[in-house]
């Protein structure tokens, strides 16, 4: 499983402050720390309170790229901001994200095709997040078919079944796992899958424990990627171990270090 480092996000106070003050050192420190600990993409999110999301996204992309060669995952609901980021990305990026809504799919898939970007597709529509696996998979199929119509290759799609906090929507957990399994059956080759891992533990006391147990369960159900805390050593060790137990990597005593170094 690929870890998309979640830390460069304006929801965190230090990042919001760094964006306001254009303090590149803070951003670059987090870029390096996440890469060293095993992140293979870096999520870039200016945060909900940014007053100038387009400029902020452009700046964040530029300063992050000075510190790390990892591909970036441009995370915003404002597509102008994503497009500004795509324009300055040195290597193909990932767009985070698009729901199964016609106007949004048109905008995002057009951009994705133009910039050769990967896309995180959310299994939700204007009506919200479905509760059961079947409805999530139906939305995934709609997203895959629409992406194809716009010329986005299926290899570039990551379906996010949408994870909800386990303390408020406990019944969604098994549905998400079932969705992960079924998505691998909707086409050949199938799209990849991704989750926003930390959502599952929102508001719980032992957040890191909940995150890593769910990560391993999702991997066993075929999960390809997670937006997660790459600096959580226990999480990274659990993921590396799950890769061994799923026969994705060849065992050696230093397998955790090898996973982090990529």
């Amino acid at each position: 499983m690929i870890i998309i480092g979640e830390r460069i996000n304006g929801m965190f106070k230090d990042i919001a402050k760094a964006i306001r003050e254009r303090d590149s050192a803070v951003i670059q420190e987090w870029a390096r720390k996440q890469e060293q600990n095993g992140a293979r993409y870096l999520d870039i999110n200016v945060g909900p309170s940014s007053t100038e999301p387009v400029e902020a996204m452009k700046w964040l992309v530029e300063v992050t790229q000075e510190a790390s060669d990892l591909p970036l995952c441009l995370d915003s609901t404002k597509y102008d901001a994503i497009e500004a980021g795509l324009k300055v990305c040195k290597r193909p990026a990932m767009i985070n994200s698009v729901p199964a809504e016609a106007a949004k799919m048109e905008r995002v898939f057009t951009m994705a095709a133009e910039y050769g970007a990967e896309v995180i597709c959310l299994a939700m529509s204007a009506e919200g997040i479905p509760k059961d696996a079947e409805s999530r998979v139906a939305l995934a199929m709609e997203l895959v078919a629409t992406a194809d119509a716009f010329g986005v290759p299926i290899d570039n799609l990551y379906i996010d079944p949408l994870v909800l906090p386990c303390n408020v929507a406990q019944d969604h957990g098994p549905e998400v796992l079932e969705t992960l399994r079924q998505i691998k059956l909707i086409s050949d080759p199938p799209p990849k899958t991704v989750v926003g891992l930390s959502n599952v533990s929102q508001g719980t006391r032992d957040r890191e424990l909940v995150n890593r147990v769910f990560a391993v369960m999702a991997m066993a159900n075929g999960l390809d990627a997670a937006i997660a805390d790459a600096c959580d050593d226990e999480l990274m060790a659990a993921v590396a171990t799950a890769r061994i137990l799923l026969n994705m990597d060849i065992y050696c005593d230093s397998y955790i270090d090898v996973f982090k170094k990529g």
Binding site: I250, C252, D253, S254, V258
Partner: protein, 325 residues
């Protein structure tokens, strides 16, 4: 309707390692040899590239061999006493791509030759032939650790392939290779996990050394567990092609050494009449063993009988014919 041929796509490839150095590069070899670089499983030229052909080394010792089968005397008997002449004959008469010298005389239970004597022998062999050289110790770790730095220094610039590093004893040889820019054979006991771990440990000593490792998975001869080594090599190569950098190294095997320990290669015809003539049988046993390992990705085959080596070189010629479509 046209048939669509399914081709496997590989994510990565095996690293290339250059052996030997010419005068311009600081050595004295007439040419260098590059091994590795495969971006497909062996000889599937239709799925990827195999830019460098597998090579055949002939093995020599730095003393008259005590346990080699007498049938080899008619090929090497006149040069057994002089490693330089022996190496020259391997190259000039038997077409060896490179020569591997085993410093057997350093064994404390044999002649206990000093590191300086070993270095002098290596220098003599380097002067006698122009091909890149593989040098391996006597097999007693304590003594070998004294030999590596002296030989590495004496042959500085020649870009040797020096062996062997093992999980329990890799630091001295790796340091010697780092200091004088040689390549190292990393040997594991038919064990993919140890193979990978040893490569990691060597790479931790020096990032540059990661690109100077040749894997010796430890091989078995035909009839003695060849399928175990075969599957380990297959797994390593599949790992390499799927992006596992710590397994993406070329591989070497001591085909001659292992084959000529088997009863099938050595038993005289009068003791086993149904088996046919001993020498022909030994040659085929060695060549067949080598051919199986070509198919599992071996890049350097260290052989003993010159006629077995010739058969294998011919087999490599045939396998390297383009079969892409």
């Amino acid at each position: 309707m046209a048939v669509e041929i399914q081709r496997e796509k590989y994510r990565s490839k095996v690293g290339e390692v250059v052996l030997g150095a010419t005068k311009e590069q600081g050595g004295s070899r007439s040419h260098t040899i590059t091994v590795g670089g495969e971006s497909t499983l062996p000889f599937l030229h239709f799925e990827g590239d195999m830019p460098n052909r597998p090579v055949v080394a002939l093995e020599i010792l730095d003393m008259v061999p005590e346990e080699w089968h007498p049938c080899l005397e008619k090929y090497y008997g006149d040069v057994y006493a002089d490693p330089a002449d022996w190496a020259k004959k391997c190259v000039d008469e038997y077409g060896a791509d490179l020569v591997q010298i085993r410093l057997s005389s350093a064994d404390p239970d044999l002649k206990d030759s000093s590191p300086e004597d070993c270095a002098a022998t290596v220098k003599k062999v380097l002067e006698a032939v122009g091909v890149p050289l593989i040098v391996i110790g006597c097999g007693k770790a304590e003594k070998d650790n004294l030999i590596y730095p002296v030989v590495a220094e004496a042959a500085a610039g020649e870009n040797l392939l020096l062996g062997v590093a093992e999980l329990e004893n890799y630091k001295a040889i790796t340091s010697a290779c780092m200091a004088h820019q040689h390549n190292v054979i990393a040997q594991s006991p038919i064990d993919i996990n140890i193979c990978k771990q040893l490569n990691i440990l060597i790479a931790e000593m020096s990032t540059a050394m990661a690109g100077r490792i040749i894997i010796d998975p430890t091989i078995a001869a035909l009839g003695y567990g060849i399928e175990y080594t075969y599957s380990i090599m297959e797994r390593a190569r599949n790992g390499a092609l799927q992006g596992d950098k710590m397994l993406a190294m070329p591989m070497i095997g001591n085909i001659g050494y292992e084959t000529w320990r088997t009863k099938e290669a050595n038993t005289p015809a009068d003791e086993a009449p149904g088996w046919g003539e001993q020498e022909a049988r030994g040659i085929l046993w060695e060549a067949t063993t080598a051919m199986a390992y070509l198919q599992s990705g071996m890049d350097i085959l260290v052989m003993r009988h010159p006629r077995a080596a010739a058969l294998v070189k011919q087999n490599i010629d045939e396998l390297m014919q383009d079969n892409s479509y």
